[in-house]
Subunit: 342 residues, 2 copies
Amino acid sequence: MKRKITLKDIARELDVSISTVSKALKNSEEISRDTKEKVQAFAKLYNYRPNNIAISLKNKRTKNIGVIIPDIVHHFFTTVFRGIEKFANARGYNVIVCISDESFDKEVINMEMLANGSIDGFIMALSAGTQLKNDYNHLREVTDQGIPLVLFDRVTDEIACDKVVINDTEAAYMAVEKMIKDGRKRIALVTTEGHFNVSVKRAEGYYKALKDHKLPVDEDLVLTLPNTYDNEGISKAFFEKIDIDGVLCVNEIYAVRSIRHLQDQGKKVPEDVAVIGFTDGILSKLANPSLTSVAQHGERMGEMAAQLLIERIEAENPYEKDPVYRTEVIKASIVERESTNN
Amino acid sequence: MKRKITLKDIARELDVSISTVSKALKNSEEISRDTKEKVQAFAKLYNYRPNNIAISLKNKRTKNIGVIIPDIVHHFFTTVFRGIEKFANARGYNVIVCISDESFDKEVINMEMLANGSIDGFIMALSAGTQLKNDYNHLREVTDQGIPLVLFDRVTDEIACDKVVINDTEAAYMAVEKMIKDGRKRIALVTTEGHFNVSVKRAEGYYKALKDHKLPVDEDLVLTLPNTYDNEGISKAFFEKIDIDGVLCVNEIYAVRSIRHLQDQGKKVPEDVAVIGFTDGILSKLANPSLTSVAQHGERMGEMAAQLLIERIEAENPYEKDPVYRTEVIKASIVERESTNN
DNA sequence: GCCATTCACGAAAACGGTTTCGTGTTGATA
DNA sequence: TATCAACACGAAACCGTTTTCGTGAATGGC
């Protein structure tokens, strides 16, 4: 058990002042070559490392960034996180992760916990609870204090800050358009309920593609699933009574289940029905047939979010009166596999 | 832009000393009711929150724990992480995550970055690189400094510390035994190369189950895949030339691919061949047929790791001469689904 | 009216660094 | 020999808390 050594320890041992030690270790011109060598040798020998906390306190920079996401056991958020971690680490930042679990309260608690000096800035995706409550005071408090904030994916217009989003509407549009061009005429949409989230934007793209290509919009072809885990029965019933030749699903789980339900009815994918999902994760790659999917490039999104945040943190004058906030769009792309004809 | 308010600010405004403010906010008996009310009201009005960094420096406790994992885009690690985060958060700890990316160097750098005061303890799973190199000096340095460390899943006997592991060998044994009891006689094993990792323990269970049930061990039935992503061709070829009625795979990806390769050859799962995988993730649930799988209960593992760590951090005498370290075993269980007959 | 408590508060050290601003010594210069 | 700059270093403030100890004033008992 060798305790951590401090500047004071070195100073005492070498019979110099703390300031001298500090300067010597920074190779300051002020200190003679002799002293510098002596101090540096001693520091190396005893494996001296400056205490991060003390440094943070002194320069009011922690080199930590706080990430608050609704869920971690979720492919998309996981990839975004990897992007954040990668970029942040390369720039010498550490990442503190909190999971809001889709709850407004947890989101608030987590932010407050971190906002008191623990981090230099936040990256977050709003929890479902927050979007539902439509209450963003905790975000406002943070930005009011001058703490940089970057929102990604699940954002809100209520808060002025940097944002990173996906072109969901266009991606859904492209996906539907692809099926239409492949000759599909009755295309279903499987989405989630809630008026706040990305599903809405994807639905918009779906409707717009139909309209632009003069296909009728039939609300019977739209299945809106509740945000629970045991909604499989509902979707099974849906596919039993519907006659379609294409499906767009807002995530890959729904897509894989759709395939299964279709196959259970003797329909062939993609011959009879084409299926496209969102979230190009492991499921899409390994489904049978493998799934044509809208890739959201989460890792790029994370990198971008981290870049925006760190730029803001390290900006010359962080307390500008009217900063110009950016909204970066990460373009989704369609990865074609077996569940559609190409 | 309202800046953060400090004790000093309050003291100045109310014309009392900093110590008085500090005590008043802690409801100290030393301070008169009048003063306490005045201070508390003022603090509330201006939304005073003590600075975490200053507190950390003072009591040498950061209330942060460092988690170093090889990969985050991986169902098992993700669930473990959720368990850690959940438990830690409930106890008032924040979690700093670093991803080693299976690299020894990154693992070392990350540890050094965090070991200088940023965290109160580590939870980690060894990177493949570290296991390969068999170099644990960075861990030893940390424990030598008295920083608590908990290893999970990928552990080593070289380091004395608390550990959380899975009974991999027994789980594999149980899985193979189940197939044998179902009448399977030629059971294959699909595993990964490397002499260090959990695959070895699972293989042990596989061999032992065969021997205990007097089934011949045939090395032709064992497929060892390289740790690359494009090893699908190899496994396809394997299944084409082999005649089996059961397969144990060391992860769910291999299991799903095995199913597909078998189906491609006209074999039926589970009628002709039973398949069992490890890692009871989303793939197992949504595969077609759904996959019987060894659930590793990652979340429980994470909670246990966090519990062990926090107990160690908060122990009365952290610098015991000879602490008794614990190794907790999280028991895996088999989740039966369609890929085996039950 | 004097002394001993109790009360209510402040001064200061400490945590571990960084940084500004002296200051004593040296050598060169006039 | 007096003056001055350069040199090498130290004292002290500071970051924002906590906590120990000291102290002046009010109060009580006699």
